[in-house]
Symmetry: C2
Subunit: 318 residues, 2 copies
């Protein structure tokens, strides 16, 4: 059988909506719903890798580290990302197993704790931009910056917040095992929260760093390295739009990388929202990627038939 | 090349000594030391699965859940076990990668979030015995038992503590993937803390349960299901002893399952200490296991040459 290999990147909100606090029941229910919505990808001829964000979850974990710091030493951000990969992997893995069992499909699901190499000289380390965790008063912020060597930034309305670097992913260390496993027909959950960032030292050993990797970019990097046939980036809207939320709004159905890059340079895509997804798509297609779909999870079944979503390819299909 | 498949079960203290609080630096340093001590197993002809306990780590995580509960909903114990698999997997995985890189061995390491099926009618569910987390006052305990439906038990000296069931492992859901991966030459870290316990419902779907599985028994179950050549259970002492810490103390070097069962029945092995390790060894050897070694990590290199440790086999070697 000819297999197609899909890498699907879920948003962090797929497991926790902004209105939710993050209980076990909420996260498990969301995982069950998400995996049911992915069921159009559960075909014997499809190989499947699932990646996911971890924004609200790692926010909760770092908050727990701080609130309990008098009793338990707070773990560093890399360990918190790994913890979120553990709990979210557990929820998603069980929900996906259940989706399979309900359909009497005999496939297995495994979650890999994923480490992603970044450059020690990535310019992001000089300019931390990614906010993590809770807001603090100026007083508290001063103490934390002194005691913990955090970089913090003031948000005019809400107070002070830690910011960490967001370096570019260079390679996913566990990519070979992810590929082996998925080619055996198992569903692999990995690159949670963009993966745990590590740098390689001159003696070739690795060291974790307190940073956060963009999960779409890390997913695109993985998809290229395992030669996925299609990278699907799930987001909150069914299509990429030009002039988004203006009277001139125009949805994109099919677009080439050349056209998309032009739209990107023209400033059509919002920072921290659609822009990183477009950058991830372009990265993947510039690195031997074949096809990228950007859509929302509700439109996924139609998008797989080419009837919904934004489809991006290197060249115009004939 | 003829390969030998080893499953090595590390104690929870391998990553955190009782005297330590559990900072990132402590856990990473311990992981580095542990992986260096496992280096006698890093031979091309050895396939390697590493399992580990999580006692102090999951204790810290559950404590953080409670101390932060006004702000963040405390996750259930199964999710806390998965979180500990994430952080400990990250530390061990990086330390093991570094041990390999220092030796210029080109092998990879992956951590699997592991779920282990237990029987919903396991008698342990009627008799929770395994203490988890911190101690509470009688007042607090009453509130927690009412609000959270916890079972709690009083320790004469230290107060009230939550107890959870410790059901027997039936099967490791991810055993096939663990076997595939290890046969490809990669080192797999799994069954952390005994794995996340789940029950299978009548419709074949899975549901997590708040319980703790003995990590040696879960490791023995995994070792049997992947047909390991040797299960190594690492503990604090170089040998299993009869009449331990008495003038009649006798160390065991070679022993058959028949002899060992007799010693067990005679009450030689302390509950919660050596006894579960002996039970795990006997379980493995009764389920097609070939060889079990019980020793401490310092004696491991000699034990692999048959010159240290307690070696257990189904029959006396000729």
């Amino acid at each position: 059988m000819e297999h197609e290999l899909f890498v699907v990147a879920l948003g962090g909100n797929a497991l926790l909506a902004p209105s939710q606090k993050g209980s076990t029941e909420e996260q498990m229910r969301n995982a069950e719903r998400t995996c049911e919505q992915l069921s159009s990808l559960l075909k014997p001829e499809f190989h499947l890798v699932i990646t996911h964000g971890n924004g609200p979850q790692v926010g909760n974990i770092t908050l727990q580290q701080e609130l309990a710091c008098a009793e338990v030493p707070p773990l560093s951000l890399d360990a918190c990302v790994a913890m979120s990969e553990g709990s979210m992997g557990h929820f998603l893995q069980m929900a996906m197993l259940n989706a399979l069992r309900r359909r009497r499909y005999r496939r297995y699901v495994v979650t890999c704790i994923t480490q992603v190499v970044v450059r020690p000289d990535d310019p992001a380390f000089k300019r931390p931009t990614k906010p993590v965790g809770q807001f603090y008063t100026q007083e508290q912020a001063k103490t934390l910056m002194a005691q913990r060597a955090w970089t913090m930034r003031e948000d005019a309305k809400r107070g002070w917040r830690r910011v960490v670097p967001s370096p570019k992913p260079l390679k996913v260390i566990q990519r070979h095992m992810i590929k082996t496993q998925v080619l055996f027909g198992d569903i692999v959950i990995c690159v949670g929260g963009g993966g745990v960032p590590v740098v390689q030292l001159p003696d070739k050993t690795y060291k974790a760093v307190e940073a956060v990797i963009d999960k779409d970019l890390a997913s695109a990097n993985l998809a290229s390295s395992i030669r996925a046939d299609c990278l699907i980036i799930l987001t909150a809207v069914p299509n990429v739009c030009l002039n988004y939320k203006t009277p001139q709004e125009k949805t994109l159905a099919q677009v080439t990388t050349g056209e998309l890059r032009r739209h990107l340079d023209e400033g059509h895509f919002a920072e921290g929202s659609m822009r990183p997804k477009i950058e991830a798509a372009l990265y993947h297609l510039a690195n031997e990627g074949r096809r990228v779909i950007i859509t929302d999870i509700e439109s996924l079944p139609k998008a797989l038939q080419g009837k919904a979503g934004t489809h991006i390819a290197r060249y115009q299909e004939p």
